[in-house]
């Protein structure tokens, strides 16, 4: 295992101390420890909010650079600046509950995002239709049949229920409840173990996502 010394020992020291305090405060029911833990979490929330604001300014700076360079993507930057100014003016000055703000959400944000979702739907169906042409294998056939039977089991076929697809005792229900749940449990256990290992590595300074 290769260990590299950080440029500043204070960063790893701060990480170690705060992490241990939060972790101990989660297990130990001590009032001072709990209070200290809560303060650290509050600071984290504030820092995350500030980071979000900094991210917004960084996004504007990048697009400002594109505008100055007059590249072919300058039009998108102009749209971003226009949308940002409009959103700040409307939501910031008029408020979230204003009708104009609601109109922006109802007629701009939601339809655009919904249309993108429809594009994903069309693309998935198109990819499924050409799956066997591009990769004709057993796993491709199994995947295709699984998708088809899952969709068939999710809806009634004009009021007709297929015995092995619909109902609580159907094969599809068995696949979803038993096999699907078993796979998800494995995934969750893996996520939990990974989280523990990552936390330990961050606490001991082996991983420094905050940088050196």
């Amino acid at each position: 295992m290769r260990l590299s010394l950080p440029r500043s020992p204070f960063s790893i020291l701060i990480t170690l101390l705060t992490g241990l305090v939060v972790l101990l405060g989660y297990f130990l029911d001590l009032e001072p420890l709990g209070e200290l833990r809560f303060r650290f979490l509050q600071w984290a929330v504030l820092l995350a909010a500030v980071a979000l604001i900094l991210g917004v300014f960084n996004l504007l700076r990048v697009h400002w650079g594109r505008l100055r360079e007059s590249t072919s993507k300058a039009l998108y930057s102009i749209a971003l600046f226009g949308g940002f100014v409009l959103a700040v003016l409307i939501a910031g000055l008029l408020g979230v509950q204003h009708s104009l703000t609601r109109a922006v959400v109802d007629y701009i944000i939601v339809p655009i995002e919904a249309s993108l979702f429809v594009v994903i739907l069309v693309t998935l169906i198109y990819a499924l239709t050409r799956l066997l042409q591009n990769r004709f294998s057993v796993f491709s056939i199994v995947f295709l049949l699984t998708v088809v039977f899952s969709l068939l089991g999710s809806i009634p076929l004009l009021g007709v229920e297929i015995p092995f697809l619909h109902g609580g005792d159907s094969i599809l229900a068995f696949v979803q409840r038993v096999m699907g749940t078993a796979g998800v449990r494995g995934l969750l256990i893996g996520v939990a173990l990974g989280s523990v290992v990552t936390g330990i590595r961050v606490l001991f300074g082996l991983d420094r996502p905050y940088g050196d």
Partner: protein, 705 residues
Amino acid sequence: METQRCPMCGRPNPPDVEVCQYCEARLKPLWAEPSEESSAAIEAGITKSKPALEPEEPLLPDWLIASREQLTGEEPSQPQEAEEEEFLLPPEEMEINNFLGELFSDVPAEEKEEDVPEWLQVLRNEKPPAPETSPTSAGSEQEESMPFWLGFESSEPEEALTESTSAQEKVSPFTGIPFEGIDFDTDFLSLGEKAQSEGEAQPDFQPSVSPFEGVEPFLLEEEGLPQSPSPEEVSLRAEETTPPPVEGDWMNEIPPWLETLPGQEWEESEAPEKEMPPEFLQGVVPPFVETEEELSEIEFPDWLTQVEGTIEPELEAVIDNLTPPTIEMLAEQEEGEGILPEEPEATPPHEDIPVEVVGPLHGLRGVLPAEPMVAEQKKPSKALSELLVTDKQRAQAELFLRIIAEEGKPKPIPTSRRARPHTLWRGLILLALVIAAVIGYLIYPFSTVPQELSVGVFDAMQAVNQLPAQASVLLIVDVEGSDFAEMQATTAGMLDQMMIKGAFFVLVSANQNGALQADRLLREVSRLNGHQYKPSSGWVNLGYLPGGAAGMQAFSQSITEVMPGTVEGEAAWKSERLKNIQTLSDFDLVVVITEDSTRARQWIEQLKGHVPASRLVFAVSAQVEPILRPYYEANPRQIQSVLAGIRDGAIYETQAARRGWAMQLWDAYTLVVMTGIALILIGSSVYTLLALLAWRKAKAEREGR
């Protein structure tokens, strides 16, 4: 840093030292660097340089080259080579070579007239040619070319000097015609029979009577012929040629036996027109011949014919099998080694010759440095460096070369098997889905709603039914705009039931757009179900909760401190409806609405311990249900209920007997899903058939049909 490498041990040494630090060998010679001049002085008398050799000339003895040239009819070798041979070989070996060369030579006697030895000239009774130079000068030249121990003989009388000068022209005794006139068949047979009759033991190949019987033996001794005298000759020599003891200056006196030589008279007489054997050899030796035809007519003795017959095939076989290095190879090797100058320079003065100061030769002057000779890098012989390659190895080498050549050639890029996108097919899919959605939305009602009540829907309805009037409900809305329709259909029936009970909602979101989506969700549900819910009176929006999991954890610990105000900037927890709310456990119900599985998992993990599981309900997208099912089916449960997708929303509305947003979308949803299934089946069948046809076509092309 420059270093000099010891020529003896090979180790590096500093450039300024004269002897090796390891073996004490001299690094710098006492003389200067072995330049061409100095090397010539050093190697004078050791090695004689050769002139540029002719190419393709094999390294063969002169007598063999001469014999070959005579057989092939070519001109004899250059006289310079003969001189080189004389220089390199001692006189005895040179005589033997000349003897053997002449023995197997067919050159007429006229062509080798100049090489007739003195004794043969005496026998021929011819006068040796007069020297071009004076005897004194000749003697001086002879003195220069002879070593010191031969210089004593050079002080003989002028007659002897004359003889020696004329004797420089040498010839093999048998190439002359000493056997002319002798019938070897008859004479030797008769002599042999006579000898056998006398009981004398003779070798098989040697005649019983020497053909040179009666010839003065000193001639053989003087010329150094490789002949051992017979016992008769020894006795004859002892009787006739033993000079009497002479006192005084015996070197300047001609011995009596020398004065009685018949050659003395020959020397004074003129050269005979035709060489004839002397009188004492008349009838014993064959007459001398002058032409090749006469020589061919001579019949040699049997023993000589047998010897020649046995030696010649062996020599030819050896010569044929021999692959000597050509002169061109030797010339190249000499070029690599450096050609030494022909004429050595004068030796430096005695004072200039340095004295050796180290080593076992300490104190000696003029020690030849061995380093230049030892350290001289010589190229290996060309004949040794040539590889003996078999046919198999040559074939493998050619195969390897072909492989290398093919590797260097550009190869065509294989065409991608990925099919080109079919825009028309994509458009058809989109058009079919849109038409299905429109038809499903307009044709009302189109299909039946599933009547089966799932466990999740039942638990959710039970949790809502247990809410008190004017309950406080925390709605955590992490919804993007793309999934808003699905989440609205999923939660519309449940929110309608809460609104019916007059619940007060507190909205919070860990998503940037979640606060706006939550506000829109309540407005739409209130509008569709005919409620009069408005902000502030019906709900408060706390806005965006930053920090991800850390923010959730902090919010779970103290909602009032982490989210103290609303998005409008008002104090959230000082209103009449929320003044009793201090922690999450003070809410009557906590509903998490999200379409993100990660967010759903994080909320479960961070809310655990702060919210009773019986008051935690999740309304999620259909894709998140598998993630939450383990938490829901755990024992004890970590969440109260899971409402997943439009199906559960429609079931909830059906069970609640309230036709809401899910029921309105159900027909369109069903028709779109059925259209999607049909498109997948049709498209997959068509493209699979096309792929099979293409595969069969490619297979047919490969088979050449």
